[in-house]
């Protein structure tokens, strides 16, 4: 992920991503036009759905929270040049950590403590699901992309088995556990606001959002201000230089994957402790995969990841609204728009660079080189 040397930073991290986004919206608009709807009205509905209606912002930020966690997970691994595709599985297994802690302790220990333990559980279980592929990469040379993908499937199968056969709430058919005890969980922001005497529309937004922002700041310090961050970035840019510097490659890989997995595991606190209050099948809903696009778009920097998460949060929430409002725009159409954005700002992120470079050189280059 090298940025261009020719154009200044404000162009490469500011203008070009916006142009990519604009292109994605243009192409989406074409599709909407072809199925006979007005693209401008659709955009309007989407923005209104994401930010305007009561509770809309809450919903948007609730989705944003998930993307921050998974985006950071992918980004951290990426700094060490490890492509962690396993955010989905790590988040899922993180959920198992939350579920097990709550189911075991919530009848005996006070809710506040259980919640803390459950948060730790999500991190530890997610970390374990990252450590195993990390170990296989570091010590056995199994490619991390392959193993993390496989671990997504293993996680999914494991969870189905457990939720259908082992920890399912008895006496009913749906594959989910019983509700956690009432004192367990993270407070939703609108309830929190009520304590402070503020009126807010109801939404699933909960304290995890604050957690995500805190973790983002911590991520920045970890990567750019600690010895470990220095070592993992050295490793990411040049393994040979890292060895020369006396950095232990395999342990660095394993620790990076542990932290990455732990970050992905935190999705479970937003979903399970913040919203569902029980462990249920498929709660990760693709957040882990979207995290890859978020990290790509956010250029692996926590601030960029926050902005990208906000965008995807708005898309998720606004997309739901689109689905409601137009009979011809279905859920699949919304997915298509998301896919286009991922395509243009992820896979084709550098497509416009040569064009912008040429343009820049033509109008500013001569001044600089003189």
């Amino acid at each position: 992920m090298s940025d261009s040397n020719i154009i200044p930073k404000w162009l490469s991290v500011g203008v070009i991503p916006l142009m990519n986004l604009f292109l994605a919206f243009c192409v989406s608009g074409l599709f909407i036009f072809f199925i006979g709807e007005n693209p401008f009205r659709a955009i309007f509905v989407m923005i209104k759905g994401a930010f305007y209606y009561p509770g809309a912002i809450g919903y948007t930020l609730y989705y944003t929270t998930n993307f921050i966690f998974t985006g950071l997970a992918v980004a951290l691994a990426f700094h060490a040049r490890l492509f962690n595709i396993g955010g989905e599985g790590q988040a899922y297994v993180g959920g198992l950590g939350v579920g097990l802690v709550c189911l075991i302790f919530d009848q005996h220990v006070m809710g506040f403590l259980v919640t803390i333990l459950a948060i730790l559980g999500s991190v530890i279980f997610g970390a374990i699901w990252g450590i195993i592929p990390g170990y296989l990469q570091a010590k056995r040379g199994s490619h991390i992309v392959i193993t993390t993908i496989m671990f997504n499937f293993i996680a999914a199968a494991l969870m189905v088995y457990l939720l259908v056969n082992v920890i399912i709430e008895p006496g009913q058919m749906s594959p989910e556990t019983r509700d956690f005890a009432s004192g367990v969980g993270l407070v939703q922001i609108h309830i929190f606001a009520k304590y402070l005497g503020l009126e807010m529309a109801m939404s699933p937004l909960n304290l995890s959002f604050i957690g995500a922002l805190t973790v983002s700041v911590g991520f920045w310090f970890l990567v750019w201000r600690t010895k470990f961050g220095y070592e993992l970035r050295s490793l990411g840019h040049s393994e040979t230089a890292a060895i020369y510097a006396g950095i232990k490659v395999s342990s660095t890989i394993i620790i990076v994957m542990a932290i990455s997995g732990g970050l992905a595991g935190l999705v479970a606190i937003n979903e399970l402790l913040g919203v569902h209050n029980k462990l249920l099948l498929g709660f990760t809903a693709g957040y882990g995969f979207t995290g890859i696009a978020v990290a790509l778009m956010g250029r692996n920097h926590p601030f960029g990841i926050f902005l990208a998460s906000l965008l995807f949060g708005a898309l998720y929430q606004g997309g739901t609204e689109l689905d409601f409002e137009f009979s011809s725009i279905t859920r699949e159409m919304v997915l298509l728009i998301q896919g286009l954005i991922i395509l243009f700002s992820g896979a084709l992120a550098y497509m416009l660079n040569p064009l912008v470079e040429r343009f820049y050189l033509k109008y500013y280059g001569s001044i600089n080189s003189a």
């Binding site: 961050g229 050295s234 230089a241 890292a242 280059g365």
Partner: protein, 525 residues
């Protein structure tokens, strides 16, 4: 010979006497990459049947110019004349058809093919390989005999020495009908003997009418083989000389743009105690090759021990083991009175703790993390040092303060701690690595290829820094493929060939020819 004429072009011009006819004329060539002006209004004339040298520092635009001539780049403006006619060389195919051949610094050979298969590549003679082979072989044998290009046509490329590989490259170019031959740094991989052999071939090519352009940074070679020479600096041809009428000093001055000291003042001092003792070290590579065989030597405080040898004879592996990058397999090493035994915990971190600093052979792969800023690279390997931390966080301000001094003291340009090291020139990158390692105040400094890809101005500075370190009593182990460098810097020289030490000599009574013989494994002392 016949084939050359078939492809080579213009009968009427060929009949002119070679000494007055221009084989190549470049007029006002300009090439710009982004902000960088690689060639600016370059004019160059090369007489047919001469050897013309082009010298210049890295980034002076030599390679760009030759790549333009060979059709790899298209110039932004300017014209190329071949034998007096303006031509449009827009691809290597076109340039080959026009009779230009190029021998690249890194050979373009298929390692698993035979010499014949490689030499005929690009001019196979027939669709069915078997039919062409006979004719091509005859032709190649003719060329080979004519110019003294001695090769074994049956041999597989990967089995033959680099000197012969280079002859295959030349044959390949001639087989395609080259009348103009461009050689890019051809002696970098050769022993002195092989270099002499190559020069004989070049002379015989010239005498039979081939025009040769030789790109090199070794002034001695320019003086010994070329007829005329052009000096490039900053994308321009700044001077043209007839070789007879110039001197290395004059060339160097033109290359750098100021007077340069080519000689080194070696401080005379008594050596102290041995600080590095290597005993019977052997090493097997991952593919099971014995890359080091029973190596023993010692190194004293204040001494510079040079390790000479053609690249790939075990020097790199030796450096890797001494610096802790590779595990010690057999033998023992004593560093500052601490003994390391095989398969003991020995790594780069420990080596640094024991007072061993290491300027690696490959600064791009090892010495620097290229995308890192200078301030980040200046602590690579020493990033655990408490002086860069405030509590457990790295303190950027402390690091930058330290690095600003470092950059100032060692004259790294541009003087900026927050520029990516990848954007520095080779010489400045090397100065940065050397600065970092010297600054760690080592007892032992391992240096690999200190001046590879480094311009003359920076070389001068690097030698000075090494000498300063020596007079402080640091023991220095110098590995270099540049024999001149080894001879002028070292107090003592050992020569390595195929993983063994084949000779040792005092630098005061070493001659280039003796060392060359040992390097090629011909003579054991």
């Amino acid at each position: 010979m016949k084939t050359i004429e078939e492809k080579g072009g213009n009968e009427t011009v060929d009949s002119l006497p070679p000494s007055t006819r221009l084989a190549i004329e470049l007029k006002n060539i300009t090439k710009i990459f982004g902000h960088v002006v690689a060639n600016s209004d370059v004019n160059l004339k090369v007489l047919a049947g001469t050897i013309h040298g082009i010298v210049g520092e890295n980034g002076a635009g030599k390679s760009t110019l030759m790549n333009i001539l060979f059709g790899l780049y298209k110039p932004d403006s300017g014209t190329i004349f071949l034998n007096g006619q303006a031509v449009d060389v827009n691809s290597p195919e076109k340039s080959i058809a026009l009779g230009i051949g190029m021998v690249h610094q890194h050979f373009m050979l298929v390692p698993t093919f035979t010499v014949l298969e490689n030499a005929m590549l690009g001019n196979e003679g027939s669709m069915i390989l078997k039919n062409g082979e006979k004719a091509v072989l005859d032709r190649l044998k003719g060329l080979s005999k004519n110019y003294g290009l001695d090769v074994d046509f049956e041999a597989i490329i990967s089995d033959i020495p680099v000197g012969m590989q280079q002859r295959v490259e030349i044959l390949k170019a001639l087989n395609r009908g080259a009348k103009i031959l461009i050689l890019d740094e051809p002696t970098g991989v050769l022993t002195p003997q092989e270099t002499i052999g190559l020069f004989d071939i070049l002379r015989s090519l010239r005498d039979q009418g081939v025009t040769i352009i030789l790109i090199t940074h070794k002034l001695k070679e320019i003086m010994s083989i070329t007829d005329t020479v052009s000096v490039m600096r900053g994308g321009k041809v700044v001077a043209n000389f007839s070789t007879e009428k110039t001197s290395p000093e004059e060339l160097a001055e033109n290359m750098v743009g100021r007077k340069v000291l080519l000689s080194i003042k070696k401080p005379t001092l008594k050596f102290g105690n041995p600080v590095l003792e290597v005993k019977n070290v052997s090493h097997e590579s991952k593919d099971g090759v014995n890359v080091l065989k029973d190596i023993s030597f010692d190194l004293k405080e204040g001494e510079i021990l040079g390790i000479a040898g053609v690249a790939g004879n075990g020097q790199s592996e030796l450096l890797d083991i001494l610096s802790g990058i590779e595990t010690l397999q057999r033998g023992q090493i004593t560093v500052n009175h601490k003994t390391i035994l095989p398969y003991q915990d020995w790594n780069s971190k420990k080596a640094r703790e024991f007072g061993v600093a290491h300027v690696p052979e490959d600064r791009h792969k090892r010495g620097l993390v290229l995308p890192f800023y200078n301030y980040e690279n200046s602590i690579l390997g020493y990033h655990r040092n408490e002086k860069y931390f405030s509590s457990f966080l790295m303190d950027k301000r402390k690091i930058v303060n330290f690095v600003d001094d470092l950059i100032e003291n060692f004259d790294v340009r541009p003087r900026s701690s927050s520029i990516s090291s990848g954007k520095l020139s080779g010489g400045n990158q090397q100065k940065l690595v050397l600065a970092r390692e010297i600054e760690s105040n080592p007892n032992i400094l391992l240096v690999g290829q200190p001046t590879r890809g480094v311009d003359i101005g920076a070389i001068e500075r690097i030698y000075e820094d090494l000498m300063k370190l020596k007079s402080k009593g640091t023991a220095i182990l110098l590995v270099s493929v540049e024999l001149d460098e080894i001879m002028s810097l070292s107090d003592r020289i050992v020569v390595m060939n195929q993983g063994s030490i084949v000779g040792e000599t005092n630098s005061s009574n070493a001659t280039e020819l003796d060392l060359g013989k040992m390097m090629s494994g011909l003579e054991q002392v």
